[in-house]
């Protein structure tokens, strides 16, 4: 490798580790730069979470556009990218969903190599438990749809589930486990590393990542975007991409349009670390609980959203209680665990529970939002499709069905019925 011959440690490799070990780790560079903003960029992306950074990365990689600033109100990856349960899967019912989520999964499979940054992708397998007759029929239907879409999933029996996952109680009195939708390629990744890896790659291409820089206004003229006003001054841009999840409606208000989005709090919690007992990701949609075990040994538990608009990153206590109460029936051993941490994120929900990748009523403003409770798994595919939308000014095949026009035309991509609740 050429980088290993140079004195600087730009590229991560076994040679870089060996060389740095010899010189007391004095040569590691910052993974990304923190420059002051320029007066003007070709593309400004608001939001340095996974989706915003991935959009920037594929703008550079696929379209050679590197005059890009990614501006962030807080810190990099500190919003929903750092607040999710890191589940990755692509077993969706509708064709457009399967296409973009499976693109994301395929990109995840090689992302560590692509970014030269270990995102700790762990395709450990994912089970979606069927605990009612309705879910049994729903998941069988999804398996058939996935076969047509070329996404490999299967429907498995309770006995096979018990073999794969000895800690499960399949004979629960209220919600017995009747079967499961199994996606072998599904799994988890290290969420922070996804943001950090993309940020490092973007910075290496010369893009500017500007943190602690809140957008306070959007300037338009003749129906076209001109600039954004920020805490660090006015920044002109030819194109503006709004990739801000829970704050999408706030950005849209600044630009003068409304979105079919409601911002809700979604919570997750982790237990004290225990020895390895669960090498799968389990989703139990009937009881609103998701479970996986982190590399540290913590049980990572996700629940359902609150029902009312909320920007506080704090959720309601009863949802934590409902989630844990429901999971304990299926995983009785959890009842002995202490919970260490609990947190909330603000998710941007659309009516059909599908995302929006779209042009907007304002020229050269593009939105990528509405990923709701399932954004993390989509990050690479979302960035890939959004980069095409921003670069060309119109959506490519992956994003075409996710435009805002689907609401006026009634072409919903209805995953809310298909998925029950969850992502």
């Amino acid at each position: 490798m050429s980088a290993s011959a140079s004195s600087s440690t730009g590229r991560y490799s076994v040679f870089a580790i060996a060389r740095e070990a010899m010189r007391l780790h004095s040569g590691w560079k910052r993974a990304w730069q923190s420059p002051e903003p320029k007066k003007k960029y070709q593309v400004v992306i608001v939001g340095a979470g996974g989706h915003g950074l991935a959009t920037a990365y594929y703008l550079g990689k696929n379209y050679g556009i590197t005059d890009v600033a990614i501006i962030e109100k807080g810190w990099l990856g500190g919003g929903n990218t750092g607040r999710n349960t890191t589940i990755i899967r692509s077993n969706y019912l509708q064709d457009p969903s399967a296409a973009i989520y499976d693109k994301a999964l395929k990109l995840y499979e090689n992302l560590s190599q692509d970014l030269n940054y270990n995102i700790m992708f762990s395709p450990r397998g994912l089970l979606m438990l069927a605990q009612t007759e309705h879910e049994v029929r729903g998941y069988k239907r999804t398996v058939y749809a996935n076969q047509l879409q070329g996404v490999s999933t299967e429907y498995i029996t309770p006995q096979r589930i018990k073999e794969m996952l000895p800690i499960i109680n399949i004979d629960g009195p209220r919600y017995p486990v009747l079967g499961a939708l199994y996606q072998e390629r599904g799994g988890t990744a290290r969420h922070d590393a996804v943001a950090w890896g993309y940020a490092r790659a973007c910075s290496a291409m010369g893009m500017h990542i500007i943190q602690n820089c809140e957008v306070t206004g959007i300037e338009t003229a003749n129906g076209q975007v001109r600039a954004v006003n920020t805490g660090k001054g006015r920044i002109e841009c030819d194109k503006l991409a709004l990739v801000v999840a829970g704050h999408s409606s706030v950005m849209a208000e600044m630009a003068g349009f409304r979105l079919p989005i409601e911002s809700l709090a979604l919570q997750a919690l982790v237990s004290e670390p225990i020895k390895p007992c669960c090498d799968l990701v389990i989703m139990a949609n009937t009881v609103h609980g998701y479970l996986s075990q982190s590399d540290k040994g913590e049980m990572v538990i996700g629940g359902g959203t609150d029902g009312f608009n909320n920007y506080t990153q704090r959720g309601s206590w009863q949802h934590v209680e409902e989630t844990v109460r429901a999971l304990i029936e299926t995983f009785p051993m959890l009842s002995r665990l202490k919970m260490l941490r609990q947190w909330g994120g603000i998710v941007d929900m659309t009516g059909d529970r599908s995302p929006i990748l779209s042009t907007t009523p304002v020229g050269n403003i593009f939105v990528n939002c509405g990923w709701g409770t399932g954004g993390f798994k989509a990050i690479p595919g979302s960035g890939w499709a959004m980069a095409e939308l921003v670069a060309k000014g119109q959506p490519g095949p992956l994003a075409a069905d996710f435009g805002l026009n689907r609401f006026i035309e009634g072409r919903f991509i209805d995953e809310s019925v298909a998925a029950g609740v969850a992502h």
Binding site: H247, S249, E253, L259, P260, I261, T312, Q318, I408
Partner: protein
């Protein structure tokens, strides 16, 4: 936990007793309206970060729909009021302005229809 006082039965109800019903005071568009108006009525939402007016139902109580003024950025509740009003009542506006000086209504006041008591129904 969010606590709202039902303006009908007067009970101070916890969130678990209530069902959220989304943005209040939507202007309805139906047959004969433009596609854009109909779409906007069905889907476009203010979703503000700050003062918000929304519908709630006292689902495990008296069962009535009512309206609440709340801040989505702080979870502060400014007050609740009856559903039969096209805009938040003057009392609610005063309560919001007491807590958020400088906040201004974004609707146009019309005579006689801003009070909760005025609708004949």
């Amino acid at each position: 936990m969010l606590i709202l006082t039902c303006p009908y039965c007067g009970i101070s109800a916890e969130e678990t007793e209530l069902a959220p019903g989304g943005e209040a005071h939507l202007k309805r568009f139906g047959p004969g309206s433009s596609d854009a108006d109909f779409e906007s009525y069905l889907f476009a939402r203010k979703n503000p970060k700050g003062v918000h007016f929304e519908r709630w139902r006292h689902a495990y109580g008296c069962g009535k729909w009512f309206l609440a003024a709340r801040d989505t950025a702080t979870l502060q509740v400014f007050g609740t009021y009856k559903a039969q009003t096209p805009h938040p009542t003057p009392e609610i506006v005063a309560a919001v302005q007491a807590a958020r000086p400088g906040w201004q209504p974004d609707w146009i006041e019309t005579n006689a229809d801003t009070s909760a008591e005025s609708p004949k129904a």
